[in-house]
Amino acid sequence: MMPRPARVQLFATCLVDQFFPSAGHAAVEVLERCGVEVLVPADQTCCGQPAFNGGFAEEAAAMARVTIDALSRSDDPVVVPSGSCADMIVNHYPELLEGDAAYGPKAKELAARTYEFCQFLVDVLGVDLPAAPPGPALAYHASCHGLRGLGLRDQPRRLLRAVTGGRCADLPDAETCCGFGGLFAVKMGPLSGAMLDAKLEAIDRSGADVVVATDVSCLMHIGGGLHRRASRVRTRHIAEVLAGQGHD
């Protein structure tokens, strides 16, 4: 394990930046509470995953270079409040920029010091968060890329168990995709919508008041479905729950 870092850089992701700023502020708050100084590089944009997943490798590589530059002004570890965008940096940047003499090595170097938020808290900081007062019933949805790309399985569940005093269970079929998939949700709208229906049924069955995930992309999708159906169930990024913001 690396020595405990005193400072990290937060790569907020474009969705947190533009749509769910509260998840970003919560991530900063939790990290600072753990005694870590948080830098937020001002010139960060989008990691390029939508282009990458669409098959537009050149555009994706251009965005990867900009992200690498933004996160390489310091060699502090990078924390990402998204398994999917962290997976993009960790697993796909090195491959995407393999033939790039200047950025190929930088991509590898960045990949080696990039962590998804929960991964960083548990695997690097080894934190023990204090239990929060009993709140609403939470259900955890395991986002695909964190789960299968980064092996993010126990860390979020451990954190949630600790802070909620066991008031967080897995959704039924917690590890089945919600159907977001970036452009997939638009390009294959009816399919994506049918996958979402299955997820919403599982949420219904769970009886949970709040759905928690490590990625706001899934939560934007699930939350959009819940709101369309006028559901009482809310969505929260895991950082918000850990910061004690499980309620409305």
């Binding site: 930046d17 937020v40 490798a57 998939g181 294959m188 479905g225």
Partner: protein, 481 residues
């Protein structure tokens, strides 16, 4: 969008609207996926088994030429006749020719996706050979003039009641014959037994071929494969040229994971390894080595049909596939739409790579977009094929051929221009937020314009934040100082 892509979207819509299909798919894929998971959990070191199977397949594909040559040499030395079919038409012609030259009028078949791929039945019927499918599922497919919709369970889209009605209509079955599944199976068995005894030719696929011994292996659960390959005088096996392993030990490594992945069985009911046709000379009480049964002739037709073109390309890894169907059973897309919607012989994640790989991006690359890239397929593949990676390779190829929808091709450079200029990204964010203010109600947008309407058809879209995180964070820090 291209016409094949539009047709694919129409088939998806039709499948999603078919409640009976959805129920049948959910039931069977769930059972198969659950069986697979339990079978691998029961292994002492499942990861090591997958690793070994992958190694066996990778070593075969890495020097496919020499393994194929060796296989052909060894099989010939053991009395087989080896044929090479570069295209589907070649395969049809070779097999029809074998039947015609021998005056064969009836052929029985065990299950084979490769014969589906080359549309062999139609060609044989055309050549005056009646063909009878003997795998129970394929038998039902043939009776119904249907197509298989799953690699392993071809009638996953059919209910028991469908099959009962079909048996009554096509076989004149009495109600007692279709009362339950054992009764229906018994009926099929009576019908098929008569065909086995009369057939002049048995046709099978090949699950795996062993280069060092010239053997072919087929696995089945119904015993029909064994009858097909031993009773008729002539056995023709159609072998996809990638389905080879160097050694018998490699065969064992793949068999360890094959049935577990396909059906959750530790091993299939019948594993047949066949090395050459029947050796003559066996006489009652005789000293000479020979075989008491088996076909007089064993023809092995090695099929390319686009496979060798994949060697050395980003899609080459798909040649490791042993067609277990595990990736279909866990795919959230396959589980909703089934195999027919994909439109080709091979559906699901594997089909979405194989079809464009073998038959061209123009007609088939849209399949690779019917995936959220969730990665469930990669987690269950017995030879650890990185399917999402291959789906991305198909998408890259499609984008390079300008097959993406016009709006995506138009939007991509704009999005890239914005995201590579932080100042423009911030500006565009503010502009989008202002624009969205008119569309939103209490933080949500109910209807988006243009292609984005596909999102709001089934869910709301969040309004952009009025104060983006990064800017707000810096404003707060500055205020605190």
């Amino acid at each position: 969008m291209t016409e094949p892509a539009l047709a694919f979207h129409r088939r998806i819509d039709a499948a999603l609207a078919d409640a009976r299909l959805r129920r049948a798919l959910a039931l069977t894929t769930g059972r198969l996926a659950g069986g697979r998971a339990a079978a691998f959990d029961a292994l002492a070191d499942a990861e090591a088994c997958r690793h070994e199977a992958r190694r066996a397949r990778a070593s075969a594909i890495a020097s496919l030429d020499s393994h194929l040559d060796r296989f052909a040499r060894e099989a010939t030395a053991r009395g087989c006749t080896v044929h090479w079919a570069e295209t589907a038409a070649d395969a049809r012609q070779i097999i029809s020719g074998i039947a015609r030259e021998r005056g064969i009028r009836l052929a029985v078949k065990s299950k084979s996706m490769a014969t589906e791929e080359v549309e062999l039945n139609e060609a044989l019927e055309h050549a005056g050979v009646r063909v009878v499918e003997t795998d129970l599922g394929e038998f039902v497919v043939q009776l119904g003039g249907d197509r298989p919709s799953h690699i392993i369970t071809p009638i996953i889209h059919r209910s028991r009641q469908d099959v009962a009605a079909l048996f009554q209509e096509k076989l004149g079955a009495a109600p007692a014959d279709v009362a339950d599944i054992p009764a229906m199976t018994a009926l099929a068995r009576r019908v098929l037994r008569a065909e086995f005894l009369q057939a002049g030719m048995g046709i099978s696929g090949v699950n795996l071929a062993v280069a060092e011994t010239g053997s072919i292996c087929i696995v089945t659960n119904e015993g029909n494969g064994r009858l097909t390959t031993t009773l008729p005088r002539v056995h023709v096996a159609l072998l996809g040229l990638e389905r080879i392993v160097p050694t018998a030990a490699d065969l064992a490594a793949v068999l360890t994971v094959l049935a577990r992945s396909a059906t959750g069985q530790a091993s299939p009911v019948y594993t047949n390894v066949m090395t050459g046709p029947r050796r003559p000379g066996a006489a009652p009480g005789g000293q000479q080595a020979g075989d008491p049964d088996g076909p007089d002739e064993l023809h092995i037709v090695i099929l390319d049909n686009g496979r060798s073109r994949l060697l050395g390309t980003p899609l080459a890894e798909i040649l490791y596939c042993v067609r277990c169907g595990a990736c279909l059973n866990v795919c959230p897309v396959y589980r909703l739409i089934g195999g027919h919607a994909y439109g080709g012989v091979y559906p699901g994640p594997v089909g979405s790579v194989v079809m464009p790989g073998l038959h061209g991006a123009e007609d088939w690359s849209e399949l690779a977009h019917a995936s959220s890239l969730c990665g469930a397929c990669r987690d269950v593949c017995p030879v650890k094929i990185d399917l999402p990676h291959l789906l991305l390779a198909v998408r890259r190829d499609a984008a390079a051929r300008r097959l993406a929808p016009v709006w995506i091709r138009a939007a991509m450079p704009i999005y890239a221009a914005v995201a590579t200029r932080p100042w423009l990204y911030r500006l565009a964010g503010r502009a989008a937020a202002r624009l969205a203010r008119a569309l939103q109600h209490e933080g949500w947008i109910r209807r988006l314009p243009g292609p984005l309407a596909a999102w709001t058809a089934s869910r709301d879209f969040p309004a952009p934040a009025s104060r983006p995180f990064v800017a707000e964070h810096h404003a707060r820090k500055a205020a605190a100082r």
